[in-house]
Amino acid sequence: MTHPSDTGPAPVLALEDISKSFGAVRALRDVSLELFPGEVHALAGENGAGKSTLIKTLAGVHRPDAGRVLLDGEPVVFHGPGDARDAGIAVIYQEPTLFPDLSIAENIFMGRQPRRALGRIDHKATHAATLALMQRLGVELDPDRPARGLSIADQQIVEIAKALSFEARVLIMDEPTAALTGSEVARLFGVVRTLREQGAAVLFISHRLEEMFEICQRVTTLRDGAWISSEPIDGMTEDDLVRRMVGRDLDELYPKQDVEPGQVALSVRRLTREGVFTDVSFDVRHGEIVGLAGLVGAGRTEVARAVFGIDRWDAGEVEVQGRRLTNGAPSTAMAAGLALVPEDRRAQGLVMDMSIERNIGLTGLRTTVRAGLVDRGAERSRSLDWAVKLQVKYARIADTVNTLSGGNQQKVVLAKWLATGPRVLIVDEPTRGIDVGTKAEVHRLLSELAADGVAVLMISSDLPEILGMADRVLVMHEGRLTAEIPRAEATEETVMAAATGRAAA
């Protein structure tokens, strides 16, 4: 372990032996961290490792039970987020919260616009100040443009500009790339590099390991609330990092088994939803994992929604194990053996303030019935069975799902659907925003399901996941299927070429 402090400048912000407990849970134990000006520092760890608590401690939301926060070497106590902000610490969250109807400039200077006589807002000065911020970041965004319609990447850039306007010297970026496309990530990284060159310290959190290697100089790893290491990222491999995060060697991230595909289980024929997707036809066989790749907005999720019956289709037909599905009727799709694990687990997959037990139970309300009433015993054992099988980490099965970490919530969604005993399983971004250990578990599960004869259609924006797990890759571009690539020929290049419309199908 090396400390640049031995030779280089002093850390702008440091945590010394910070501990924080919530009741009996020790969220942080003697964690130390130093952030230097001009570095991008990765914070690595699985869900539940204590990253969020650490960020909230830095941001003044939590006050540590023990340990010190040092700003420019001086101990400070933050009594609230305002203190941290005044000290030059800004947090950029995954999903920015801008006022959609205000302009970019108004969003940045909300509540503290430059004033002219009589308290009138000085629009010219606001505009100029915003323009200056954008130039510092090296981006071109019109200050007078309303925030509505900005991509998430641009919204984050506005948040960064806002942080700079507060003279922020430390930027904490909490999974900023989770909802971004490849080119947006590149754009955001450009801004981060500019900030670094200007001497800012950036604490960067991401579940995508390759991003840490691309943008960060040092990495601090947490596991179960404890500090594991702080070290330069140069010379480390992804396996090294994973080992520190997980505490053991991860057997394999993509444990794909070879399966001989069986009969056609899901057959989609000339499916069209006007203005959304057109003439989509494909089959998925029992035992097969078919990847559905494409850029965000290519229509992948929309096809899945229509197949399952959430949205109606305008033309075409869908068969599951030879049964034609009714247009726009999820209940008949379920009866035919289809399950859909939706992309947004909070909005679509779960009822957040319902218990784990009842969330899993929701898909079984038709089956766990005795004399017309919900058979609570059967419901509980069904839910427990699947929660245990999927190794969901929870205190009590009657706890609400919003008490669980993201990875465990995703497991509850999977449990909810696997409990229906599906023969065709559509999973939409099954591992988005979950840690690498859980990700490997989900992949193993999908592989086992396929081995048991389940037909799996996997939508993912994570290209390595598609390449690692799929027997075949379907690619969509602007609402059409543009390519079908067998596993042997699927590479990042061939898939991306089809996804961007550059390849002959």
Binding site: F22, Q348, M354, K416
Partner: protein
């Protein structure tokens, strides 16, 4: 954290306790509260609210509301009076009026589920419309000469007790509603719909059908209440039950049914109904003016939206302190 402690701040328990306290206090300090006649008045006057509160609870749990219920009740009573004046047999009139309630509810339900309109707006509209139709049907007449055995049933008591005869059918309906909401797949689905409609849809729950059924049943119960009202007070007028929706909604929310849907128990709602009913009864005994009573109802409505939230925040804070 022991479960009993988090339970202690559950709002429906609080309301139940408040009801008990109010009753004990009224028995011991309010003159005339405890006599049989007053108690039968209390229950009889509360029954219309209680009857409609049953389906209203289910509606609010599923994230919807029906403000047209009092107008539907008024319309049913008016149609009943009109047809009775025209010489139709009461045995024919009552099923027809119930059917009318079904139609009223169906209209609300179709406007909400098919056109996707917000139920608050739709039912404010039908609140005015149904009441207007009632006035067109009956004008300013008051029909009072219904057959005596019906009037006796609606106003009578069991033997020499203070218990109104009509309480028994209500208890049966209450039991059915409790089972439907808290023990059937249908009821479980309503909680899911109210808490997260999209997730319910993704779980294969037929959201629109559930809501349509609820609105229809609510219309049916409203017309049943309208019939009961006209017989209980031996008066069918177009303005029967005017403003009753305020008491119903206030009572249901007071009982801890979350206005945003997804939360609450029927026990709490019914405790809320009788808390409000007892309060109104006590205020009348204490000669509080009708206007002031409406003010109290309004204030209760505001408190009832705040109370459960405060209670929940306390339990969440306690859970957070214990669990982290």
């Amino acid at each position: 954290m022991p479960e009993s402690l988090t339970r202690a701040v559950r709002w429906d328990t609080v309301v139940g306790a408040l009801l008990v306290v109010l009753l004990l206090l009224s028995f011991s300090t309010v003159d005339g509260f405890g006599n049989a006649l007053n108690l039968s008045f209390l229950i009889g006057n509360t029954l219309p609210i209680a009857l409609i509160a049953l389906p209203m609870t289910l509606l609010v749990v599923s994230g919807e509301i029906d403000l047209s219920v009092a107008s539907t009740a008024g319309l049913s009573g008016a149609v009943m009076g009109k047809l009775w004046n025209d010489g139709m047999a009461i045995e024919t009139i009552i099923p027809l009026c119930l059917l009318l309630g079904v139609v009223c509810g169906l209209v609300n339900g179709l406007l909400v589920t098919r056109l996707g309109l917000p139920s608050l707006a739709v039912t404010i509209g039908t609140l005015a419309a149904y009441r207007g139709i009632a006035q067109i049907v009956l004008g300013s007449d008051a029909v009072t000469d219904f057959p005596s055995q019906y009037l006796d049933f609606a106003a009578g008591r069991i033997g020499n007790t203070f218990i109104p005869q009509a309480l028994l059918p209500f208890v049966v309906l209450l039991a059915i509603a409790v089972v439907v909401l808290h023990a059937t797949p249908f009821g479980r689905s309503l909680f899911a719909i109210g808490a997260n409609e999209e997730a319910a849809r993704f779980a294969g729950i037929r959201v629109r059908r559930h809501k349509l059924i609820l609105f229809t049943v609510t219309g049916l119960m409203a017309s049943l209440t309208g019939i009961f009202w006209a017989l209980h007070y031996a008066s069918a007028r177009y303005d029967n039950a005017t403003g009753l929706e305020l008491s119903i909604v206030a009572a249901v929310l007071l009982g801890g049914i979350d206005f945003d849907g997804g939360r609450g128990t029927l026990g709490g709602a019914i405790a809320g109904v009788f808390l409000l009913g007892a309060l109104q009864n006590v205020m009348s005994l204490l000669n509080v003016s009708a206007q002031s009573q409406i003010v109290v109802t309004g204030v209760l409505l505001v408190i009832s939206v705040l109370g459960p939230r405060v209670a929940r925040q306390i339990s969440v804070a306690r859970a957070a302190r214990s669990a982290g």
